[in-house]
């Protein structure tokens, strides 16, 4: 990787989530909250439809960082706020997440802070999202 500078955008990541992906994530993460797979439970909770796990959105966002950094191990910190639910209709299209990430700070020790935003249908669903990444290992 060439020198990293503040303001540099990471490659945009687009990721589509269908109901099948919600079932797959529920099993992988052990999160079986019914609002992520049951229309009935989602309606009872006052939601327009089944919604994605916030932590699935955060995981997808961090993939933009780990794809860029070249591995999982370099992420020292990650965070985000689940600002708005990601509604996943029961069809073949689901919902598309768009992850945009930019280098916000270059720190000593080969570390960088990356700020991220995730949108779905043009609305921000993940805010205040950032990652602290150690890039030094791959620069050797």
């Amino acid at each position: 990787m060439s020198a990293v500078a503040v303001g540099q955008a990471l490659p945009e990541l687009r990721h589509r989530i269908t109901r099948l992906d919600l079932v797959r994530y529920a099993a992988a993460a052990g999160d079986f909250n019914r609002i992520h797979w049951s229309d009935r439970a989602a309606a009872a909770a006052g939601l327009p439809d089944v919604i994605a796990h916030g932590m699935l959105t955060l995981a997808v966002a961090m993939r933009a960082v780990t794809d860029w950094a070249g591995g999982h191990g370099g992420v020292l910190e990650c965070a985000g706020r689940f600002a708005r639910p990601v509604v996943v209709p029961d069809d073949d299209h689901g919902a598309e997440l768009v992850v945009r990430a930019v280098v916000a700070e270059v720190l000593p020790g080969g570390r960088v802070r990356v700020d991220l935003t995730v949108t779905c249908q043009g609305q921000k669903v993940l805010t205040r999202s950032r990652a602290l990444v150690a890039l030094s290992s791959q620069e050797e």
């Binding site: 999160d31 995981a59 997808v60 961090m62 999982h72």
Partner: protein, 141 residues
């Protein structure tokens, strides 16, 4: 009804040890949109940055659903999540989680619960600190 502020600062007992499996990491990577190229070099397989939620969330449920706390389980929302990694999680790690109640607040008519989860090996090596903020709109009374 407001949350029981007696819970502030309370530390819950460590969870039963969980052994991190290689296939579990691969399953998690695939479930979050990763490609096999991300996770197939088996000798340097490392868990993704949010993998620890697999441990912390279930540990935090014990606190959130404690009847003494007074959180409305049907209406709570996960608002914020943060992980600070002290070292990567790798296959073979045997981990426990100790949850501390870091905040019990009333913000703008919402109950706000902040939980700090320390993930450590059974040998007490710190691995990861998770911070979860749970918000629950309080019913009109």
């Amino acid at each position: 009804m407001p949350l029981n502020t007696d819970f502030l600062g309370r530390v819950f007992p460590a969870t039963e040890p969980y052994e991190v499996g290689r296939e579990k990491i691969r399953e998690f990577v695939r479930a979050t949109g990763g490609t096999p190229a991300d996770d197939l070099p088996a000798d340097n397989l490392v868990a993704p940055p949010t993998f620890a939620v697999l441990l912390t969330m279930n540990a935090e449920f014990r606190v959130m659903f404690d009847p003494g706390l007074g959180l409305d389980a049907d209406r709570l929302l996960h608002r914020d999540q943060r992980f600070e990694h002290h070292r990567p999680i790798v296959p073979g790690d045997v981990l426990t989680v100790t949850v501390r109640v870091a905040g019990v607040d009333d913000i703008g008519g919402n109950d706000v619960l902040t939980l700090s989860s320390e993930v450590a090996t059974v040998d007490a090596e710190p691995v990861c600190t998770g911070t979860s903020v749970i918000v629950c709109p309080r019913a009109e009374s």
